[in-house]
């Protein structure tokens, strides 16, 4: 594309693109998010294109590969516009039927429509699905709608007009004022007011300043930021440029995990096309404002999500945090004033300037404005990416949007904030979710991972899972965290292996407090949260372990295998497969397990065809 030299040209391209979209009466959107690509969605795109070409329809119908639609559980997703038909679990070989039936004969392919689990009805328009009804898409407004690799698609959604407005009609101070007025708070975890942060960075004088986008996304089990980068990379490019104008920086850096190949590819493409169009680089849209962005790669260290560690890593060093102050706003990348924001924080910025700070602050709760994106996962029916207004309750998220717990089991807990957060339980279901209410409940918003657990999940084991993670990820710089997380994880290991005592539980509590109070950076300070919050809500479960029982039936060391004599047919299969000959019995007579020999390998239970073996 040619360089865009003025705001008028930008607007003209936007209008032209919108006209084009109107003319293309039908578009087929195919999800190209990581989840759906893993189930062959690329092949669906190719097959659809081939089917259309075969019938000479390729100019009338556009096939667009988008970012994640959010409903990953039932992917790959194919959506047809303008009527919003939503096809789920599409296979490459379905392309022919979609083209023949839907496109040529205007007959929807019934078997691919989403079926409401409650009513059994087929729902065609995604707007009527429970999954989407309570969602409001602000940060994800373009995800699953535009082709993230085509800058024209983004411009067609008024893309880069927020930047144009800022640099041609507003002073940097006015830009900061507008962000402050919107009430936007950082989505990377702590919820610091974004406008205020920009103001600090503006306040320091330096010949060079930097805008950094934190795309490290360390929470294991979360994929919000990568999905935004995969689905709408230009919104991040645009927001970083706006931030650069506001704080007086001409250089931006995105720090992204090397493990995110698709997000990297699309971001690289976005930066390149923005440069080609003159929306990055020298004298953007004919103004004096110059700004460019480069990418730095992370290398798999959770602590590098912490902003001082991230900056050290960008400088090519070990990603070890340093004490604050000085904050990056004063002395960051190469010792220069640096503003670090999270991907989702940036994704909210352009729309604040398009629709106004007042519009933005009308969404959400008193102190948490706007929406929050969550990666909903675990024992829930609709695993996926959702965005809800701040203040939505956990119950609405889990039961209305998430479709409830898998296999009709009981809800037990939900973990927010990943390894730094805590668990919420039954009694918290009606709490409105925002930054402050989650902290009050002993958890935190975190970056947006929301893992749902059911009756089969053992809470001491969950705490152990997180502590093993933080132990491994501790950078080792300070003793409370290095030694403390190791000790916590040993204590939890003992408890889940049936070697725990009440003293273990007391020690967990004591040590957790010490680590919280003395660790150097956020990783260590928050590492005990999963322990403390599971202890607060499920201390009885810890005590049960000490007494030799795992109520959830998860901890193998505490389980025993039994044969139900009523159900056993005496087929001898289990005895023949037991690796330690712990099963006795004769043909056609009930068998039994010698508990002192059994090593609890579970083989017998897998083998028995009559369900006669139970563990408890």
């Amino acid at each position: 594309m040619e360089k865009i030299k003025t705001v008028e040209e930008l607007k003209a391209i936007c209008l032209a693109r919108q006209e084009e979209e109107k003319k293309e009466s039908v578009s087929i959107l195919v999800c190209g998010g990581t989840g759906c690509q893993s189930s062959d969605s690329q092949k669906i795109v190719e097959n659809l294109q081939a089917e259309l070409a075969e019938r000479g329809l390729e100019d009338m119908v556009e096939v667009v590969r988008t970012g994640c639609f959010g409903f990953c559980e039932k992917g790959p997703i194919v959506k047809i516009l303008p009527d919003n038909t939503f096809y789920t679990q599409v296979k490459p070989e379905d392309a022919q039927e979609i083209v023949e039936s839907h496109i040529m004969n205007n007959e929807k392919v019934q078997r691919l429509l989403y079926q409401d689990p409650k009513t059994g009805e087929h729902i065609s328009d995604s707007k009527h699905m429970d999954f989407y009804k309570k969602q409001q898409r602000v940060a994800l407004r373009n995800c699953g709608y535009i082709d993230p690799e085509n800058i024209k698609d983004y411009i067609g959604q008024e893309g880069y007009q927020a930047l144009a407005k800022c640099i041609t009609r507003m002073t940097p101070e006015e830009v900061i004022e507008e962000v402050k007025k919107s009430g936007l708070r950082g989505r990377g975890g702590a919820g610091f007011p974004t406008g205020l942060k920009w103001q600090f960075a503006r306040g320091y004088q330096a010949e060079q300043k930097y805008v950094v986008c934190n795309a490290d996304e360390g929470d294991p089990g979360a994929f919000m930021d990568r999905s935004i980068l995969e689905g709408d990379p230009h919104s991040i490019v645009e927001a970083m440029a706006i931030c650069g104008y506001a704080i007086g920086a001409s250089e931006g850096r995105v720090y992204i995990r090397a493990e995110y190949p698709l997000a990297i590819k699309r971001l690289e493409k976005a930066i390149e096309s923005a440069r080609e169009c003159g929306l990055l680089g020298e004298h953007i849209l004919g103004t004096d404002f110059c700004f460019d962005i480069q990418i730095s790669f992370g290398a798999g260290a959770f602590v590098c999500g912490e902003e001082t560690a991230l900056i050290h890593s960008m400088e090519g060093n070990r990603g070890e945090p340093t004490t604050k102050p000085p904050f990056p706003a004063e002395s960051g990348y190469w010792g220069k004033p640096t503003n670090v924001n999270n991907v989702e924080t940036f994704a909210n910025v352009p729309v604040i300037f398009l629709k106004g700070a007042d519009w933005f602050s009308s969404i959400g709760t008193e102190k948490s404005k706007g929406t929050k994106v969550f990666a909903l996962a675990g024992k829930i029916n609709n695993v996926g990416l959702i965005e809800v207004p701040m203040g939505t309750t956990l119950r609405e998220v889990i039961f209305d949007i998430g479709g409830g717990i898998k296999s009709g089991k009981e809800f037990k807990a939900a973990q927010t904030g990943g390894p730094s957060g805590g668990c919420l339980t039954e009694k918290d279901l009606d709490t409105p979710i925002d930054f402050d209410s989650l902290v009050a409940k002993g958890s935190m918003m975190g970056s947006g991972g929301l893992i749902v657990m059911d009756e089969d999940d053992c809470m001491p084991s969950v705490a152990r899972f997180y502590l093993e993670f933080t132990e491994e990820e501790s950078c080792g710089k300070c003793t409370p965290c290095r030694v403390g997380t190791k000790r916590l994880s040993e204590l939890l290991k003992d408890i889940t292996q049936g070697k725990g005592t009440m003293e273990h539980i007391a020690e967990l509590k004591r040590l957790s407090q010490v680590i919280k109070d003395t660790a150097l950076c956020g990783l260590g300070q928050t590492a005990p949260n999963p322990v403390l919050s599971t202890l607060a809500a499920f201390e009885d479960e810890y005590i049960a372990h000490v007494n030799g029982r795992c109520p959830a039936g998860k901890c193998t060391a505490l389980l025993k295998f039994y044969i139900d004599p009523e159900k056993c047919k005496g087929c001898t299969l289990c005895a023949r497969n037991c690796p330690v000959n712990a099963i006795e019995g004769t043909v056609r007579n009930p068998h039994s397990i010698l508990q002192d020999k059994c090593i609890k390998c579970g083989t017998c239970m897998d083998k028995c065809k009559f369900g006669a073996i139970v563990k408890k």
Partner: protein
Amino acid sequence: MGCCSGADQEKYDELKRFIDALPTKQGELIRVLHRAQGIFGYLPREVQVFVARELEVPVSKVYGVVSFYSYFTMKPKGKYEISVCMGTACYVRGAENVLEELRKKLAIEPGETTPDGKFSLRSLRCVGACGLAPVMMVGDKVYGRVTPDMVDSILAECE
């Protein structure tokens, strides 16, 4: 680099060209190591020494960075790299059992390679396909909703 065979020499040349093309060497160690691992598959001591010399930094610094980041590996990977996602979403849906099965079948621990060099095993954290949890990968190919009894047939595909 007297030790190198011809094929290795080509790899070193490629890495050197990459380094020479960088606008600045300052702060570029991690970028260079990513490239080096891309070229060599792993980062043995000789490669680290080479990088240190080219970037004019102490070898101890290179080693310090390589050992800090889990993405960098000093051991060669197997022909097929098996990764099991141990992110939270996969963990609560039973990824541990899948990893356990692979451990048994391949008789190696995560981070190791089979003696014949065919398979290496590792665990990683969230590949972004949580909807398909539990997830495992062979190279870049993602397998979703994996159960321990699928492991055999997945391994059998690697021929």
